[in-house]
Amino acid sequence: MTAEASATSISRTRRRSFRSWVTSGGVTKIAFALPLLFIFGYFSWGPIVDGIVMSVQNTNLVDDPEFVGWSNFEYVLTDPLLPKAAANTLYYAFLALVFGFPVPLLLATFMAELRGTRRLYSVLAYLPVIVPPVVAVLLWKFFYSPEPTGLFNTVLGWIGAGPFAWLNSADIVMPAIVLESTWAYAGSTVIIYLAALTAVQRDLYEAAELDGAGIIRRTWHITLPQIRGVLLIMLLLQVINTMQVFTEPFIFTGGGPNNASTTLLLMIYNYAFIDGDFGAATALSVLLAAFLGLLSAGYFVATRRLN
């Protein structure tokens, strides 16, 4: 074949492949993807890029922003409240990990063992998720009334405990918030675990039962290893989400008492909406995002072997 003939053949092939790409729905695919790309780019990636840009600017949202270099970062990093807010956030994440992470897993494992009433329990576990977060917090604020006649204090009074100051105590405020969060959000995690558990082969359990394994050994040797992938992802998502806790401390206490429940996101909020300082707010947001990004990357490397 001459070079000329070869070139003609290639161009024909290209033309044919382009035509077949079009006839096999290529244009439609692009048409379907475009709106999604636009919406995702404009509403998800756009704000991220804008947030990064704003972190090196000083703006009043009316006039043209002014470039200020690293000064927003300097201001944020030298804020005496930052170490406390970071510690509070880590403390919240830690408490949520210790108490909030196992609860849905235990509930799901228990519910998976049930036969006829599983649906009922799923509904019961999921109900708190349906309550809007603000409503739930206001409800719990009422439960946490520090007066001896408050709901929790009354109930605990029956066994001779309390009365506790709850949200008014710098020592109890964080555990109190974690308790509410666990109640509020465990339901959706339970549903995910339940779905994962249905994928575990039943014959493994039957074999283990024949070998005389009880529920604890079955859970430890079959359930947990089988849903390991889901567990690891949920763990990472929980850490990322709890590091961004905002609604609960904002509505429960506004960060009090004595900043004992001031979290990083609450600081960001205060920079933006109390101080009107969007530069500082976005600077701290960028720092938090960078930290969470590194944490996630490190987590994936560390757990790759397990997967």
Partner: protein
């Protein structure tokens, strides 16, 4: 877990996008007063949006507001007013500002005036005030608080008040105290609080401590002991001294020695007034306008609401912190819209003080719609005009004014002191923490707590 916080972040992120998009193309914000006043066509047809329309859940108030809008438009045929429910809220304000869809007129607290003006986020109104013929009516002391050194006026003050001691007259009677002779000094407040707690079990005295309202109340307490919060220029914190320490030590004694401050130390105004209306709190520092949420919304019997002058510290002169409401105009408003906005502000909020027929008409409509007519405040106009106004509306008054008599009588005798000049809300946010520490940590060291707050406030003021 935790989708809500993601949502909040998404909102913030969304706002950031908008802000960048809009700031890029606006650029024409009003900063200092214009050097050459633009030509204004006072007859041009103009449409303005005004905020603070009561929501549909408050049907009667809403109908009153809408009726006033109709009456205003009938009087000013070239102006069309669209009322919207938007209220001052720092979150939505910034987002709406960035998106360029703020209402032209919005009610804001006095404390916000300086920060909004300094950030160029509200319109400068001196020309519009002149053209609307409003200048002479306004109380010059109040106008000073919303003006800058160059003579720029950034808001129209429409309601002012001095803080004082709000008390539950029923609890006073139950405790064997005379509700017509409320405490005048802080020592008397302490004794009365103790007596109320001992005899009724209610908290004798309580204070707001969150959402910057704690800092506001702490500032009032400091003023009443002869202290200040910032220096006049707003460059330095001045509260790390004896007056502030005295007030905090008094609170410490009431909280930890007398146990007369109840058990909740995370109160915002709403929650505090709720517990006060329910008879759980004897006294707190507040302003007369709280009569409305207490009596109209929470159904506290009107006769139980008492208001006295700000208590006086041991070696101090009578002094009270003043504040109130101002009306701001969107920085995007054209000169014509600014004039229309000021005319509306005048009509709806101020004209009743100079127009007998309008005063009676508004008072009658307000009384008919179940609103309070009317709670005594520090006049936003001259004292004579204010007294005259009360005579005009006499037939419609449904507030037991005699329960405010000691509060009103004190106006002439008190030093009325403005709120901190610079970054008042930010400073208040820092002072919230001071109050919370004193009230929730038994062994809190007053001097150390004040020192820490001073450092934090100086850092803010230096930014």
């Amino acid at each position: 877990m935790r989708t809500a916080s993601k949502r909040s972040l998404a909102t913030l992120a969304g706002m950031l996008t908008l802000s960048i998009g809009i700031t890029g193309c606006s650029g024409g914000g009003t900063g200092a007063p214009a050097t050459t006043a633009p030509e204004v066509d006072l007859e041009a047809a103009v449409t303005i949006t005004v905020g603070d329309l009561p929501p549909t859940s408050e049907a009667e108030k809403r109908a009153f507001f809408e009726g006033q809008v109709e009456a205003f438009m009938a009087e000013n045929p070239n102006i069309t007013v669209e009322a919207v429910e938007d209220k001052w809220d720092p979150q939505t304000f910034q987002a709406q500002l960035a998106a360029g869809n703020l209402p032209h007129v919005l009610t804001v607290a006095f404390t916000e005036a300086n920060a909004l003006a300094a950030r160029g986020q509200v319109a400068e109104l001196s020309q519009a005030i002149d053209l609307a013929g409003l200048g002479e009516q306004l109380n010059p002391d109040l106008l000073d608080l919303v003006s800058d050194d160059d003579g720029g006026i950034y808001a129209v003050p429409t309601a002012a008040q001095a803080l004082g001691l709000v008390y539950n007259r029923d609890l006073f009677e139950q405790a064997g105290l005379d509700p017509d002779a409320p405490p005048q000094t802080w020592d008397e407040v302490r004794d009365a609080a103790q007596q109320i707690t001992e005899t009724t079990g209610a908290a004798g005295y309580a204070t707001m401590t969150t959402e910057n309202q704690g800092g506001w109340m702490l500032s009032a307490g400091i003023y009443s002991h002869g202290g200040t919060v910032e220096n006049a220029k707003g460059t330095e914190a001045t509260f790390n001294d004896d007056p502030a320490a005295e007030y905090l030590e008094l609170l410490q004694a009431m909280r930890w020695d007398d146990n007369s401050m109840g058990s909740n130390f995370l109160y915002n105004a709403g929650a505090l007034v709720q517990d006060f209306s329910a008879g759980k709190i004897g006294m707190f520092i507040g302003f007369s306008g709280l009569y409305r949420p207490a009596v109209i919304r929470n159904q506290m019997p009107a006769d139980n609401f008492g208001m006295a002058a700000m208590p006086i510290g041991a070696d101090a002169e009578p002094a009270s912190l003043t504040g109130g409401q101002i009306q701001v105009v969107s920085p995007d408003a054209t000169p014509e819209e600014q004039v229309a906005a000021v005319k509306w502000i005048d009509y709806f909020y101020l004209k009743k003080f100079t127009d007998e027929a309008l005063a009676a008409e508004q008072a009658e409509a307000a009384a008919a719609s179940g609103q309070a007519v009317t709670v005594p405040e520090r006049p936003a106009i001259s004292q004579d005009a204010y007294d005259q106004y009360f005579e005009w509306i006499q037939p419609y008054v449904n507030v037991p004014l005699e329960n405010f008599s000691t509060y009103i009588d004190a106006f002439g005798e008190q030093n009325l002191l403005p709120e901190p000049a610079v970054k008042a809300q930010e400073v208040y946010a820092e002072l919230d923490v001071v109050l919370q520490k004193i009230l929730t940590e038994e062994d809190a060291d007053v001097v150390k707590v004040l020192g820490e707050a001073e450092t934090a406030v100086n850092r803010l003021l230096g930014r």
